[in-house]
Symmetry: D2
Subunit: 348 residues, 4 copies
């Protein structure tokens, strides 16, 4: 019953097999392996972006930080949600990679609204050389709270950014989960909605550790390559990154895995909806469920070994009926039996 | 006939099998996987350093840059060879990670001599706040030119560093190749010789991509962890790094692989010594051979598809007997047949 | 009628005379001038801190950024008010000098409350290596909105910082204005209240351009010197900084000037209080007045050439009685005639 | 008898008077003071560069570091002499401001030769993303050893830089001394010789502390302004910088002062040439003399209180006739009596 994160489950067997298959003979290092050619071609095809610059790195933080550093300048501020991974969970990596840029927290929610973004951008307008300059807008889909921006919502935020000449970055650590939730194309969720660069996640969706960074305008491709090398994120034995990503993209494994993860979360959601004592922080949309359960349920689950984060409140407390929020993340690999067992124990 | 680098051959099958074996069920992320406990214990045992802080990263540049940034300060200068990987091949990653430290190039050779080091350190002595401050000494074993520092040589350099209170870093991208060439212990080549931190290489010795960073004094362990995270080098699915390293250390695979690589280079060396037209830039000591061959030999080898770097001179030229230097790197996987074929073609 | 800032008026004649007097013969450069010895001794005396490390720089941003970089680490976050100069008016200098630290905005006011600080610190507590680490607390006295922290308020904030082992920085760009408003000693407002380092302002209080940085614990003095040099803030002809500061400290010129400035603001405040159409954003406490005046008053003042910032709202608008906020800053040099003329025109 | 540096003498009285004169009434801060308009116009006129971007900072290190950071990128290397001030005397400020660029030391002399520059640039050519990328070329005129590049020599270096698309920076801490030594125009020594940006020194030539940074192509002007602010080098009371520089440029004070300094050095040189025991490291060309004197001369001079650097060797030693090198710097203010006294004591 592991619902703590989607970064702790096993990689998909097809991906592991691809790693084994790639382990034959010699391959040119540093991204010149032939598999990378296929990865690049396949991602350009998926994104309907034949000119896009496509790179692989091994962590989501690297993808985000390198993308943002390439899009912005050290004297700028990046507009993001106060719960954005780049703000809360990267130990100042974006500040480090950018050379000291600032992050401006927009609104008070995981989903940035057009109004809040406009307000935040305008608030940086009047201080000339004194204040930070306006920089990239970074949005996360699926958000860190499990919600999904529609393509129209992304387009609305991009439009505001563009009014001010600001580039747009999409943190897609759970890109595929968002895509299958929306039922749109990768192009529709990105460049057709005004996104300039994407961190295209693989690690949370069944890969051992690979993310792609995609720039739809290749003008800064060489700069990105230099930043990646200087950041120590260029792998010599790059084929082991390429092989993961190619297997991910082959036969739509990435979409199938995301569908399974989302379906697992939906099953969990349905079960919780049937529990009168459970409620939701908001309606789950992808593979994360934020739900309130009574303390007694939590205690039973913990005794049974269920792993997940208690999002607010504490197990310690007297009132067994007091609701405590849980973050429950489903990856592609969680079995129905685990979900059902969780629900059964939660219901008591 | 691939002698271009030891970063292009396949990973060892036992390592790949370990990756497959590790791909079961859930594992705590970010270095809290149980395999990492075994890696830590095993490396402490190998290094006879029960208190050592042990971390994994995925690239040698990350290992070096993070280790040096942790040992030094932005206003210092790192003493290294002019052909050090940290100077020539990391696109300013050490400067980036350190926040703007300088590198002082010591002497004019791959091997730093005690005299040159002393001179370089003393030359930084008289400028108060104006010049860069003296910082870590970084040495590479096996050097970038295939030579090996003896433990006594390392100890002599460390002694000079310690006279001035400077920490010592060992870039051990080819640590095992040096160790088996010397026939000493890991402790003797490192902390017993005054080394404070090691980049312990795996990638060039049969791993898909893992290096360990080891600090013998754990005082800066937490700082290193923060630097690693901030540098985006902390893997969520860390078990796939741990599994590589544990397989590497199990049953001395790391030493066996290095012995094979060195033996391959010795076979190549012996064959070249039998060629009257061949000569050596210096006596090969580990898994790299720097040898002069006549242009005609190079032409035949290139036509036959041999892959390696021409280190000086150019294939283009009229004189078929003119000697051109080659860098020939042997990894564990190169077959005797390839070596013998290379020698046969070279001899003509 | 110049109320735009206290950085635009003339320097005090005694300071200018001291510059002339210092311009004799040779003086050792880079802070080794004899005048600096006197400055150091005098500041240690004023602060009752015989061990304090004392340095001069030429801009307030340099003082703040260098002090914070010395107190903190790149992977930390600095706790400050959302209107702090370090956040709003230094174009990411603190982020640059710290090597990429973050700023956490505490509360929604110019004055940080103990409750807000505690909450902000606790909110950074649970993410291990993932979130930014807690770093220095920076408070500004006089605040950017003209209010004054009492010594007890500073002590309360420091106590919370110390509970968590965090150093405390005081941005004292208007240090003297706060001190004379409080009627306490420099020691009481700083180290006796738990402050570790001070940016001691001179520029806004009658100097051409000098600020002192004072560390009460000299342990990091050498690090500061290196950071200052590396930041290009060590003056070769340092005597021209020393001379300004020594004149400032001689015969309590710094306190007299601040008293004059505060008295000027009090005169302005009293005059505005007599205007039924005027109101205050909060009670003025030092040399800055934030007051609402009807649009008609603003229009008359602008036509008469009064210089100040309209803090909210716009001169353009139909309703002559609509209140618009003004920021009115008084320096030591503003004449009573200007204040009275301003009041007369404002009253109409 | 102060020959230690040209940064320790008094400022020119006309400059001090200009500071007094500027200290009247209010002036817009942050470079918007009217005097700065005159400075800008005058420097554009002097440099025959009506479009040039012109800025003031207070230290030479700031001028150099900000200029180089603006011309280059963090993943590049700056080509400079091994004795360049930016390498030896700025405590890694160029590395800090550039975000971690490297400095490549060209040749082994204060004057870079065309051959050495070409060799150094070509040596950085073959490593793709691995090595540092080629960046700005920085030359110093007058050099740190008192020699002067001719305009033709500068043009030759610039031509090589331009072949490779590299910008050229001139560290002109002693710009005027070089100019009067050459008898050319400011334009001829800079943009007509291919220089892109100049650190135009004032501090070593009679100012309390001001340097101009001039970009002949204003394309990066705004970036420079942001870098200056972020580096904490934008002065609020900027008029005190402007006033210094305007006085410097008025009635050619800058040229007159440099002529006096160079003439002082010539007088010293002539006197030393008349001493049979004196010799020169190279023929003095501007305001610095590097000369060998017998130990006995040095001892007499030190006893008499002469201040200068012993450049090689040590006063301690038995042989009174052993030559020790001295660095003797003349500023505009040194009197003939001091020079003659120095010569008399040296001669014994």
């Amino acid at each position: 019953m592991f619902f703590a994160s989607d970064n702790a489950g096993p990689a998909h067997p097809q991906v592991m097999q691809a790693l084994m298959d790639a382990n034959q003979g010699y391959a040119m290092p540093y991204g010149s392996d032939p598999i990378m050619n296929d990865v690049r071609a396949r991602l350009r095809e998926i994104f309907e972006a034949p000119e896009a610059a496509v790179y692989l790195v091994a962590t989501g933080t690297a993808a985000n930080s390198l993308a943002l550093a390439t899009l912005g300048q050290p004297w700028q501020t990046v507009f993001c949600s106060p719960v954005a991974h780049i703000h809360e969970d990267e130990c100042n990596a974006p500040e480090f990679y950018s050379g000291g840029a600032k992050l401006t927290l927009v609104g008070d929610s995981d989903k940035i609204t057009a109004e809040a973004l406009r307000g935040a951008i305008l608030a940086e307008e009047t201080r000339g050389v004194h204040g930070p300059q306006r920089g990239p807008v970074s949005i996360t889909n699926v958000t860190e709270r499990g919600r999904v921006y529609t393509c129209a919502e992304i387009a609305a935020l991009s439009a505001i950014a563009k009014e001010h000449g600001l580039p747009v970055h999409l943190d897609g650590a759970r890109f595929a989960n968002a895509l299958v939730a929306l039922g749109c194309t990768a192009a529709e969720m990105t460049w057709k909605a005004g996104v300039d660069a994407v961190s295209f996640g693989g690690t949370k969706n069944g890969l051992p550790g690979v993310e792609a960074v995609i720039f739809f305008d290749p003008a800064k491709a060489w700069e990105f390559e230099l930043r990646r090398k200087r950041g120590a994120h260029l792998f010599s034995k790059h084929r082991y990154l390429s092989a993961q990503m190619l297997a991910f993209l082959t036969d739509n494994l990435w979409l199938h895995s995301a569908k399974r993860a989302n379906a697992n979360a939906a099953r969990l959601t349905d079960g919780l909806k049937a529990m009168p004592t459970a409620s939701f922080l908001h309606e789950p949309q992808a593979n994360m469920v934020f739900a309130n359960l009574p303390r007694a349920s939590h205690k039973r689950l913990h005794e049974a070994g269920a792993a997940y984060y208690i999002w607010s409140g504490s197990l310690e407390g007297d009132d067994p009926s007091e609701p405590l929020a849980a973050r429950l993340v489903c990856d592609w690999s969680i079995g129905h039996d685990q979900i059902d067992q969780f629900l059964k124990i939660a219901a008591g």
